[in-house]
Symmetry: C2
Subunit: 387 residues, 2 copies
């Protein structure tokens, strides 16, 4: 890995109305618009527009995958180690796009956006959206950029769900995909964790049926939801290594209900920080979209193999041994179905103790795999051997 | 397993002041009393008082381990399948005792009990107690019953922590112990789940610093805590088998934030039911006692082997392959330390898909193991071979 960065970047805005219809048909059957999309790009689109890669972000991510914003105290992008000159997603070679998801709160239209009909934030009058709806909006962005084929669609966690959705919904667009630490369908356990997080938000007295904008935020509910999330992102082993049973700033138990263990302080801090940067209603919508995701059901009437029949993209599937939110056996379900339908598939179960978060931590291993996979795909597209 | 029951049973009450001091010295250094203990017994104590077994219950358990109460609509005891004539804990042979823990809310003194000094419930003026404190109170009960040696102390989950505490704190009292689905110390992950549950309760506007008695109960907080708990009691596999992605009472998504999936309805129901039978403050105290538990630290200055040097009891350790709350490797830490110190130890890692809850479900396998273990212990006590 190197320290090079794409440097200063800007968030751009695309309105669906810029190119065609201002709305999309949601999977729920509703029409919804207008929609604005916040996105960033890194590197340059080549002449034949064959080097574009779309990054799909996870639950709390944003369009800001790499580089630095001028205004925001130089916060690096969330995948800074992965995207840049000479990095796995090499901006010297590829044109990288990352957009905020529909229903999010980082620039793309979501429940905190103003409803033009009322002049107030949508709140929970915002329609429930699916992973498919998010991808439809991304497709409109790609069209707007004049890109007909994507070299790759890549994402971890919920981003991996979107990558899978892409190769199913638009089989002729991505040449390849990289589905990292993801699943073809949310399990009962995963739905359960999301449901508890939502209940915590909805139970917060400051949530006020989603109409908290301009007033007190439902801090406690969001914090609890985020704390639950964080536990599922780490492995038992990584939590043990990181915190063990160490106490925070003291040596003896205080025999009260303050945060005593380091792990308590850490989670409390993460939870309280989160409410400042993430909209509580978006948390409801985004987790719901994950719960609904079931590629086999949506595209194959319940059978993953049937769903996968029309796939044309080469697939790279990565899982992490200690990931228990979207465990390796869920990735293997995808792999088995891809293999049974004779697709071009590469699967690696990466040994890691970092749990689900490994996709944001185990950069060297992933970089080596992904850069080779992308190069092979690029060469295949241009009729060259896998140099 | 048979259908025989110990039949109608009654909850008895023992006041510490009945035999000696009315208080105990807590591990925090405080003196606390008066204390009343709710307990039940099944079977008969034999003449030489050598057939007594103490059951230690888990977080939400009670003294009512077996049989039926006259008044409460014939609810069976929480370990009814396990305790009774001809069962694993055979009431034809053994005298079984089960008491509610200190800090609980099922009859033994806890935060919902009346503070004699104020005439009001203790609330969070109740002192923080440890697993050790619970065991001290159980010891006073055993003394009161005139029992000098226990044939066995048995418990699952937090009950297993108490069983381990017993053989460490009172090495001359239990002849043997059975530590089921437990751990010698709460892990960072386990502490984290408990901490989030407590935060949910404390954040509930109806909790009111613990002074909610006589008014609205902090239903939402308790429900959220219980939902989190339930997820940790099941395995991913058992949740998948039990609920999968099935919807509750409908066939199509409703695209809103109601409980749609069966797993959501189940958890919501479990959570809402729990507040009716369990005191919110007790939940804080009991989970805190689990967080504090660290046998190696308390008795061995951080080393489990040192802690175990004085153990005299024969130990039976049971874990379940799919238990991820107190996973098998945590039981194996106990086993390794017992073996290294040359103790009499039997360990079985029972194959089960039921997760942590297996200790309440996998009755036949456990019954076969435990009844043999108890018989061997009894025969050893009476100088007979292991018939």
């Amino acid at each position: 890995m190197n320290d090079k960065s794409v440097g200063i970047v800007e968030v751009k805005c695309f309105n669906l109305s810029d190119t065609g219809e201002s709305f999309i048909e949601l999977d729920s059957g509703k029409r919804f618009g207008p929609i604005s999309v916040a996105y960033e790009t890194y590197g340059s689109l080549n002449d034949d527009k064959s080097n574009a890669i779309l990054i799909c972000h996870a639950l709390s991510g944003s369009a800001h995958a790499a580089g630095f914003h001028k205004k925001e105290g130089h916060n690096p992008g969330w995948w800074e180690n992965f995207v840049g000159p000479g990095k796995a997603l090499d901006t010297d070679k590829y044109f990288i796009i990352c957009s905020n998801i529909l229903g999010g709160c980082m620039g793309t239209t979501g429940p905190s956006s103003t409803d033009p009909e009322t002049g107030n934030p949508y709140g929970i009058s915002f329609p429930v959206v699916t992973i498919g709806d998010m991808v439809k909006v991304q497709k409109r962005l790609i069209d707007h950029l004049g890109i007909k084929r994507l070299l790759n669609v890549i994402g971890g966690s919920m981003g991996g769900m979107q990558a899978l959705e892409w190769i199913l919904r638009y089989p002729d667009v991505p040449m390849s995909c990289a589905i990292i630490a993801a699943t073809s369908r949310s399990s009962a356990q995963s739905i359960a964790f999301n449901a508890v997080g939502r209940k915590a938000i909805i139970s917060d007295k400051r949530w006020k049926d989603g109409n908290y904008y301009g007033g007190d935020l439902p801090c406690d509910g969001v914090a609890i939801a985020r704390m639950i999330g964080h536990i599922t992102y780490l492995s038992e082993e990584s939590m043990h290594k990181k915190f063990g049973r160490r106490l925070q700033d003291k040596e003896e138990f205080s025999y009260d209900f303050s945060n005593e263990f380091q792990v308590e302080s850490y989670l409390d801090h993460q939870g309280n920080k989160f409410v400042e940067r993430f909209d509580a209603n978006s948390y409801l919508y985004v987790t719901k979209s994950m719960d609904y995701f079931d590629a086999g059901e949506i595209y194959g009437g319940g059978k993953l193999e049937t769903a996968f029949e029309n796939i044309k993209a080469r697939s790279l599937i990565l899982s992490f041994t200690s990931d228990w939110l979207f465990p390796p056996h869920q990735s293997k379900e995808i792999v088995d179905a891809l293999m049974k339908t004779g697709k071009d598939i590469t699967y690696i179960n990466i040994k890691s103790s970092y749990g689900h978060d490994a996709f944001l931590i185990e950069m060297d291993t992933q970089a080596a795999i992904i850069s080779k996979f992308l190069m092979a795909t690029y060469n295949k597209l241009h009729g060259r051997g896998n140099a």
